[in-house]
């Protein structure tokens, strides 16, 4: 669908004094537990292979300890891998000299941090301009460009405040503006919204999606929150113990979880918000008169059917009928798998 921006190939990270020698042991089947017990080395990343498409939001998710923060820090080499390759636009990041790496970080990849990581002694506008200052942009241009991003993330009027005077959500907007101000094509977001409370988190997700509609950056977003992943991700990678368990679109993951770990992950999510009508349609057509575009999500489709007082409708793509959905199929699709609530349901 789109070209690959960042390609991660056979990436291993093993923490410990002799990590290099442990790679072959992991290749031959050593697990995180056995490596720890027998060799006192910690397996960080285990043969990670991901192709990240350009101008999309790639979510990498996993529980704490799954290696997601380690993985994102490999992309700009805040952490050096034990072995493997990282290609950005076909260029090997790991082969860069210190000078090349600094220029790469200054111009092509910027990062947003979980705990904001703002400079407490600098005002908002100076924080936003921080990346530009490092690049050596002169003061006037720096302020002009920073101001543009401050306005864009909705912080106009707070230019001369210090970070400690702002709420968490506002501080992270500063972090976001700082990362955007360098005009890097790739944006790394390390649990960027995890420290915020749920309402603010949704706000920030909307801001990010809004910006993305206009900017089309390649965003690599780390999270442990599946709802967040499903809400913003074009693609999702699920990590466990440093290994990729499953990758695919949100719908693919919800409809076809690779294993029990993923199944466990998705069991509590709102499936009606992830699945669209094309996912539950059957090859037939309906005469109810109601039509949905194929990308309409069930959450919107079901109330519309109830309102129109019909039990089935046509699914349309490019003006053609491509199938039919029934209310029953929809309800079936959004039921939680292996639900334990059946005891409370009685039939008369």
């Amino acid at each position: 669908m789109s070209d690959v921006k960042v390609s991660i190939k056979n990436l291993y990270k093993i923490f410990g004094p002799n990590g290099g020698a442990m790679v072959s042991k992991v290749e031959n089947g050593a697990t995180k537990t056995s490596l720890q017990a027998e060799h006192k080395h910690v397996l960080g990343l285990n043969n990670v292979n991901i192709d990240i498409p350009a101008r999309r939001i790639q979510v990498i998710m996993g529980l704490s300890g799954s290696g997601k923060s380690t993985l994102i820090r490999h992309l700009n080499r805040l952490i050096e891998p034990t072995s493997g390759e990282i290609l950005v636009d076909g260029e090997d990041v790991l082969a860069m000299s210190a000078e090349e790496l600094r220029n790469f970080r200054r111009n092509r990849m910027s990062m947003v941090f979980q705990k904001f990581a703002l400079l407490p002694h600098r005002t908002v506008i100076d924080n936003v301009g921080y990346g530009l200052k490092i690049k050596g942009v002169d003061k006037a241009e720096m302020n002009e460009r920073s101001q543009k991003w401050i306005d864009r993330v909705g912080l106009a009027g707070f230019e001369n405040n210090y970070p400690a005077q702002l709420s968490g959500g506002m501080q992270q907007r500063v972090g976001l503006a700082r990362a955007l101000a360098t005009d890097a094509e790739i944006l790394l977001m390390d649990e960027a919204f995890s420290a915020l409370d749920p309402l603010i988190r949704n706000d920030m997700q909307d801001i990010l999606l809004d910006l993305q509609e206009e900017l089309h950056k390649t965003i690599i977003f780390i999270t442990h929150d599946l709802d967040e992943a499903l809400n913003i991700g074009d693609n999702i990678v699920i990590l466990r113990d440093g290994a990729v368990i499953q990758q695919g679109s949100p719908q693919e993951i919800v409809l076809d979880p690779a294993d029990d770990y993923v199944r466990d992950f998705i069991k509590d999510i709102n499936r009606a918000r992830v699945l669209d009508v094309s996912a539950v349609m059957e090859a037939s057509s309906s005469d109810s008169g109601l039509e949905f575009a194929s990308t309409v999500i069930l959450e919107d489709a079901m109330p519309a059917m109830v309102k129109a007082d019909v039990t089935h409708a046509n699914v349309m793509r490019d003006g053609e009928v491509i199938g039919k959905v029934t209310l029953a199929a929809m309800i079936g699709a959004i039921a939680r798998p292996e639900s334990n609530d059946e005891e409370q349901v009685t039939y008369r």
Binding site: R105, R106, A164
Partner: protein, 296 residues
């Protein structure tokens, strides 16, 4: 059991020979190199003489005005400015003006010297665990060894006077600034450092944009401590020929002059309180941005 009654010590004669050997070796060293080392410190001595004369020769109202302005710039507090003025007026009224100026002169020079040496050394320590492991015990020795012990070699090398006095003060006053600079930089938030790194900072940018500014409250606590320790050394420094408030204190001790000792002692306290309050207030103002509150 003879072994348990008498400690198996080195023979008396051997011990005397060992001590003599060390003493003679150092004496020869200081005879051979004393002049060269003195020559090395000459510019520092000329500067100290000049600075002390300057403070003493300046008309007292101008000096009090300068102290008041400095106190205001540092503390931004009318109370502290008034306290400063009253203290210096009282000092002058009780006839201790010249000694006080001499003390202020050596304390200022010692403080600047310690900052100039201590902050770079602290930065070096924070960069490398090996340097830290080497320097820390040296700092421990500097802080705990009785001052008189290191006065012996210093006086043997340089005689008595301002420079050996300054060195003695600095040996005692240097450790806090080094320690707190090191600590302050090591305590800088790792994520902020990562952010600096992720935007492509080089070493110098990381140090001056992030590490030093974020460590500044700790570094400033070190400066404050260094000033206080330097003041504590005033009396000992006066034993090797440094002019100032220590001289009358020393005379009072040997002659049991209660009033003289008390008055000069209190003048040292007054200086300490002024320096402390002004530098602390200044340190607090440096951290003002850390306070919360929306729309301030």
């Amino acid at each position: 059991m003879e072994l348990f009654d008498d400690f198996p010590s080195m023979g008396r004669k051997d011990l005397v020979d060992l001590k003599k050997g060390i003493d003679f070796a150092f004496r020869d060293f200081s005879r051979d190199n004393g002049e060269a080392i003195e020559g090395f410190f000459d510019p520092l001595m000329y500067f100290m003489v000049w600075f002390e004369k300057l403070l003493m020769a300046a008309p007292w109202p101008i000096m009090i005005l300068i102290f008041a302005i400095l106190a205001w710039l540092g503390a931004r507090s009318i109370g502290i400015v008034i306290g400063t003025i009253v203290s210096f007026l009282a000092i002058g009224y009780f006839g201790m003006w010249e000694d006080t100026m001499a003390t202020v002169a050596i304390i200022s020079v010692a403080t600047f010297l310690c900052i100039g040496l201590g902050i770079p050394l602290g930065i070096l320590m924070s960069r490398s665990n090996r340097v830290q492991a080497t320097v820390t015990p040296v700092l421990d020795i500097m802080q705990t060894i009785p001052s008189f012990v290191y006065l012996i070699p210093v006086v043997m090398l340089l005689g008595i006077g301002k420079v050996p006095g300054l060195i003695a003060v600095c040996i005692y006053a240097l450790p806090p600034i080094v320690r707190l600079t090191n600590l302050g930089i090591r305590l800088v938030d790792k994520e902020v450092l990562e952010a600096a790194e992720s935007f492509g900072s080089n070493y110098r940018q990381k140090l001056f944009d992030v590490q030093i500014p974020l460590a500044l409250p700790n570094i400033f606590a070190g400066v404050n401590q260094t000033i206080m320790m330097a003041l504590a050394m005033v009396v000992i420094a006066s034993m090797i020929g440094v002019k100032g408030l220590g001289v009358p204190v020393l005379r009072a001790v040997s002659n049991q002059y209660l009033a003289l000792g008390l008055m000069n002692g209190l003048a040292i306290v007054a200086l300490a309180v002024i320096f402390d309050r002004v530098s602390q207030e200044y340190g607090k103002r440096l951290q003002k941005h850390r306070q919360g509150g929306h729309g301030v």
